[in-house]
Amino acid sequence: MNMTETMTPTRREAATPSAAPGAGHRAAAPAVEPVFRITNLKRHFDVSPPLLNRLLERKGRQIVKAVDGVDFEIYRGETFSLVGESGCGKSTIAKLVVGLNGTTEGSIEFEGQDIARHSRRDMDAVRHRLQMIFQDPYASLNPRWRVGDIIAEPIRTFGLLDDKAAITRRVRELLEGVGLNAQDSEKYPHEFSGGQRQRISIARALASNPEFIVCDEPTSALDVSVQAQILNLMKELQQQHELTYLFISHDLSVVYHISDRVGVMYLGRLVEVGEKHELFRRPQHPYTRMLLDSIPDLEMTGRARTPVGGEVPSPLDPPSGCAFHPRCPHATARCQQEVPQPIHNVERGFVACHAVEEGRLIATD
C-alpha cells in the first residue's frame, strides 16, 4: 500500500486492504444504513463546589467535559468497540446511547430517529430494542430476587408476554441459550460464580429481544478462562440473534478479538476510528500507536514494553488544542492551539491529528 496515497485526506476507494482473511466480513458490505449515527455528541457534568464555597473561595464553576463532540456510526450486525484509558468518556457514551443519561448537545440517531430528543413516552417505545450488559456481575443483579424474576423483569415491564406459563417457558429458553440450566431460575444470584452471573446478565439483556446491546466492560471482572467462555458466548449469540454490539473495554486484546471496527477515545474525544485490522496493523494517531505499544506481549517474553511517559490529564482541566499534545512526541505549536478535525482517509473511519494531516506522520505496517 502506497503510504502517501493513504495519507491524503481523501476517502480511499472501497477496496479494503484486508490484512487477514475474513476482514470485516459483515461490516464491509457497502451501502448499509447505520443503526446508530451519533453526531457532535456532548455530555458535560457540573462538578462545581456548592454556591457558598464558590463565593467564599472565589472559585468559578467547574465543568467536566466527559464527552466533548463525538461523531461515529454503528452499522447493523457489527461490533463497534470504544477503547481508551479510564476517564476518557467511554462509559458515558455507553449510557448516553441507551438513554440512561441525557445529552448536553448533539444527536443520537437510532434508525433515523433522534432518540436524544425523545420524550419519555417515545423513549419507552424504543427502549426494549436497546439493552445493556454491565461490568460488575456482582452489583448488577438484585441479590434478593430469584434469577427467574431477574430475567423475566424486562418481559413483564415491556409487557412482551402476559401469560405466566409463557414467561416461565421464555425464561427457561433464555437460561439454556446462555449455557445455564432451566432449573437455575429458582436460585439466587449469590449461588453463582462471576462467569455464571454474567451469563444471567446476558440472558436478561436478551429477554426483550433487543437488536442492539451495549456491553460495558463485560469481562473485565472475570478470569481469563471465564472471559474466553463469555466472549465465545457473545459471538455465538450475535450470530444467532443478529445483534449489533457497542463494546466498551480497555483491554485491547479483547477488543481486537471481538470487534469489527474500533474507536479510540482520549479525554472525551474520538481520536481515531477504523476497521480493526486497519487500526491495529496501521495505527495512524500517535495515541493509538502508544496504546498498541503498551499491550503486553505473551510471545515476546521478557521484552520490555515501550513505556510512554505521562498519564491522562485531569478531565477538569484538559490541555488546549489537541488534548494529547503534552504526551505526544510529534506535537508542534499548532497542536497546542488548534483542535484537530477528523480526516476521513480510511473506509468507515477517520483520524484526528495535525501531524497526519500535514504528512509529518506516516502510517507504518
Binding site: S225, Y256, A304, P307, E311
Partner: protein
Amino acid sequence: MTEHNNTSPVLDVADLHIEFDTRHGALKAIDGVSLQIAPGEILGVVGESGAGKSLTGTAITGLLERPGRISGGEIRLEGQRIDNLSQDEMRRLRGRRIGAIFQDPLTSLNPLYTVGRQLIETIRTHLPMSKAQARKRAIELLAEVGLPAPETRIDQYPHQFSGGMRQRVVIALALCADPKLVIADEPTTALDVSVQAQIITMLKRLCRDHGTAVMLVTHDMGVIAEAADRVAVMYAGRLVEVGPVAEVVKSAKHPYTQGLMNSIPTVLHDVDRLEQIEGSMPRLTAIPPGCAFNPRCPHAFSRCRAERPDLMAAGEGAAACWLVEEDAAPASAARATADTLVEHQD
C-alpha cells in the same frame, strides 16, 4: 535469573497448608504449596480467583486472619522460620524485611495524612533515623519510583495523586526499609495499560538494583510474561506447574496451564473462537479426588481420577500431571499422545 541460582533463597515455603475452620469442618484452602524465590528474582504466581494465590501471599506476610490458619509446613525468610513468630515479632519484620504492595493504591494509603508523613513514619519505625534524615530518604525514594518533583509532592495528600502516581507512592512505602522480599498482590490491576507498563518496568528495575526478591501475584498473564523470571501456576489450592517464564508461556506442560494460555485473546492473529476450558474451578468443599483438574481436563485418564499427582520435573520446570510422568518413563514411548495413554491405562 540464572545467576541467582547458586545463592540460598530469600523466601523458602515448604509444604504450606492453610485451612479455614467452618461449621462443617476444616476447609483446605492451600494444600501443600512449596516455592522458593532467589535474591533479585521475580516469581509470578498466577491462577483464577479462588486458586489461593493471594492467600499464599497473605500467609507469608503474616496477615492471615481467623478463621484461616496455617495448619502445616514452614515459611523461611533468609533461612529464619517466620510462620511461628508472634504478632509483635511479625509486625517488626513486616515493612522491615518484607514489603507489601496491594491492588488498590487508594485504600493502601491513609487519606488523612500527607504522603511524606506516611513515608517518614514508616522509615522511622524501621530504621534509626532522625526526622530530617527520614525526609531526605523519603524524597530520594519518591524520585527513585519516578515521581516528578518529589520535593513538593511529598507534602501533598493521596487524593492529589493520580492512580499511577499513588501506586508509585505505595511502592516507595514498600521499599522504604530496603526489604529483602516484596509481596506484590495485583499491583497493576487497577491501572490503565499505559501506566501499567511504566509501573512494571520500574518494579523490575528496582528489584534488579536492590537484589530484592519479589512474589508477583496476578491473574494477568501479560504482566507475568513481561516481568517474571519464573512462574508458578496455582489451581484449587495447589501448585500445578512451576518453571521459567518462557517455558510456561510457550510450552506449558500442565493441561490447565495450556488451557489458560490458549484462552487469552491476542492481537497477533485472528481467531473466530477462543479456546475455552469447560466448566469452572471446583469449590473448596467439592474438590474431586485425584487431580483436582481432572473433570475439566481433555487428557484425563483413569489414574487422574484416583491418584493425586505431585510436582514432577518436566523440562526446565515441574508440573503436577500424570502425563508428565508417563512422558518421562523410559518404557512408554516418549512421544505417546494423551489418546494412546488413555488406552494403556483403561
